[in-house]
């Protein structure tokens, strides 16, 4: 039994005119524990929808979706989501944002403080504990958002184009740090992105989704050694993966 198992998952939305929008059709994917999966595909193909289903934030229309062997029924304490728009609570400081999840789960104040201190250090926000989100740059806000997700000690992290709104340099730093965090926290990551190099650099496997209704077109294993170095971007095998994936995506547009 896989860690996260989706078989023949369908998701149908209804728009305002009651018209059906099939976002996912027969979506089948199994994810092993501690894997790093990236998902790419044309926009509107249902990538975000799949993350929302996996996070238990949206009900599925039909099919089976199991996390840790149990059907996903609602938000699971062991999974956490990170969004492109950061979605921090503007009335909470960095520390309060990070401690929000544990607070809801009645973790003692002392433990919360301890783990938030560690997380703040881990994402490199020392000295900013008491700042409010609107006082931080986009990159820093996304760091807070990642720390906030990690605070619940999740086994599964769902990331929906988390670095999509950041400049190239910040993006690169955060990619490197995310890999470190992933190795440290020993969790599983499902990461949606628009950037093919990002997908290849981070992933164990890249899932290519077809245009709507989203089905899996192909899953590509990335056989590059870890830890991943930035120099890989120019290695022949990296470029070959990139070219291959680009062609797959282009077929869909």
């Amino acid at each position: 039994m896989a860690f996260l198992e989706a078989s023949m998952v369908n998701k149908i939305y209804h728009d305002k005119k009651k018209q059906e929008i099939v976002a996912l059709s027969n979506f089948t994917l199994s994810v092993e524990e501690r894997e790093f999966i990236t998902i790419i595909g044309p926009s509107g193909c249902g990538k975000s929808s799949f993350l929302f289903l996996a996070a238990g934030l949206e009900p599925l229309t039909s099919g089976v979706l199991k996390f840790n062997g149990k059907p996903v029924k609602g938000p699971d304490p062991l999974s956490a989501m990170v969004f492109q728009e950061y979605l921090l609570f503007p009335w909470k400081t960095v520390r309060e944002n990070i401690e929000f999840g544990p607070e809801l789960r009645h973790v003692s104040k002392k433990q919360r403080r301890e783990s938030s201190c560690n997380l703040i250090k881990m994402v490199g926000l020392g000295g900013f504990e008491n700042r409010y989100p609107n006082e931080l740059s986009g990159g820093m806000q996304q760091r807070v958002s990642i720390a906030r997700a990690l605070a619940n000690k999740p086994q599964l992290i769902l990331m929906d184009e988390p670095f999509g709104a950041l400049d190239a340099l910040t993006r690169e730093t955060l990619q490197i740090e995310l890999l470190k965090i992933w190795q440290q926290a020993k969790c599983t990551v499902l990461f949606v992105t628009h950037s093919i190099p990002e997908a290849v650099y981070l992933a164990d496997r890249v899932v290519v989704v077809s245009k709507r209704p989203g089905t899996i077109k192909e899953i590509v294993d990335i056989d590059l050694p870890r830890p991943r170095e930035r120099e890989m971007f120019t290695s022949p095998s990296f470029i070959e993966y990139e070219r291959y994936l680009k062609n797959l995506i282009l077929e869909e547009i």
Binding site: G74, F89, P90, W91, G101
Partner: protein, 275 residues
């Protein structure tokens, strides 16, 4: 009024030229806003003193101030002010309680919304002053109906802003909160209400000025106390100085209510962008 030049005397500390320059510069900048009202007052005083207008119709500012002085010391003002403020404050807080409460219920349940929304839409455009007679018949002409009329006036901006505030919360922010484990009551108290707070407080601030406006109206229509009553009573006996003094107090009341509301708003929303 004879000691008024004392305020203009320079401070008796040693300052060098630039300091003095900066000091008078900042004093000027700060008092700039007061310039045009002061000129108006001066012209007004002059017109009355030179007997271009009969002071009976329009007493000079200094006579109004003198009248205020008298009212302050006879205690008449305090009695009226106390009655007025307690009516406005009671009506306002009742409206805040009801407005936020009903607003949250409407935003929470589709059923309640269908039930209450048409009522709100029907009653809201009706002028508060048009329904005053109904309140008088139902609740008598005492303080109860006065407070309830003020409540009616303050209720709508608060309830509408509460509904709009909750409904306007970014759905993705709600999903982010849910994925962190916020559900049910916690989602409301920890996420929805704090998110909507800026809107709710804006409604409450709008309501403060409504409370004073309505207070004046009801007190002028029917009362035997309160600043509104004092003004209309002074008009009936042609005590124009007292009338003007009362109007001045009412303006100050409206102004200070808004200032208090603004202070609360800024304190609570210190985190909010642009504050």
């Amino acid at each position: 009024m004879d000691g008024s030049t004392k305020g203009l005397s320079r401070p008796v500390v040693m300052v060098n030229g630039t300091d003095l320059f900066c000091f008078s510069r900042s004093l000027f900048n700060r008092s700039k806003k007061l310039l045009s009202p002061l000129i108006c007052l001066g012209v007004w005083e002059l017109i009355v003193r030179l007997e271009f207008i009969n002071p009976f119709f329009c007493p000079a500012p200094t006579s109004i101030v003198k009248e205020l002085y008298v009212l302050l010391f006879t205690g008449e003002l305090w009695m009226h002010l106390g009655d007025s403020v307690s009516r406005a404050v009671c009506g306002y807080f009742l409206a805040s309680l009801l407005g936020v409460g009903v607003g949250l219920l409407v935003a929470w349940s589709r059923f309640v919304e269908d039930l209450i929304d048409p009522l709100i839409e029907l009653i809201r455009p009706v002028s508060t002053f048009a329904v005053i007679p109904i309140f008088f018949i139902w609740f008598g002409i005492g303080d109860v109906s006065k407070v309830l009329i003020i409540t009616k006036a303050c209720f709508f901006p608060i309830v509408l802003n509460t509904i709009a505030g909750i409904k306007g919360v970014d759905p993705k922010l709600i999903q982010a909160a849910r994925s962190l484990g916020a559900e049910g009551i916690a989602l409301w108290t920890r996420v929805l209400i704090p998110s909507a707070l800026p809107m709710i407080l804006t409604g409450m601030r709008v309501a403060t000025s409504m409370s004073v406006t309505t207070l004046v109206g009801v007190e002028m229509l029917s009362a035997d106390s309160g600043i509104g009553f004092m003004v209309i009573d002074a008009q009936r006996v042609f005590a124009t100085e007292k009338m003007f003094a009362g109007i001045l107090i009412l303006s100050a009341l409206g102004f200070s209510f808004d200032r208090v509301a603004r202070l609360v708003q800024h304190r609570v929303l210190a985190w909010h962008k642009g504050v």
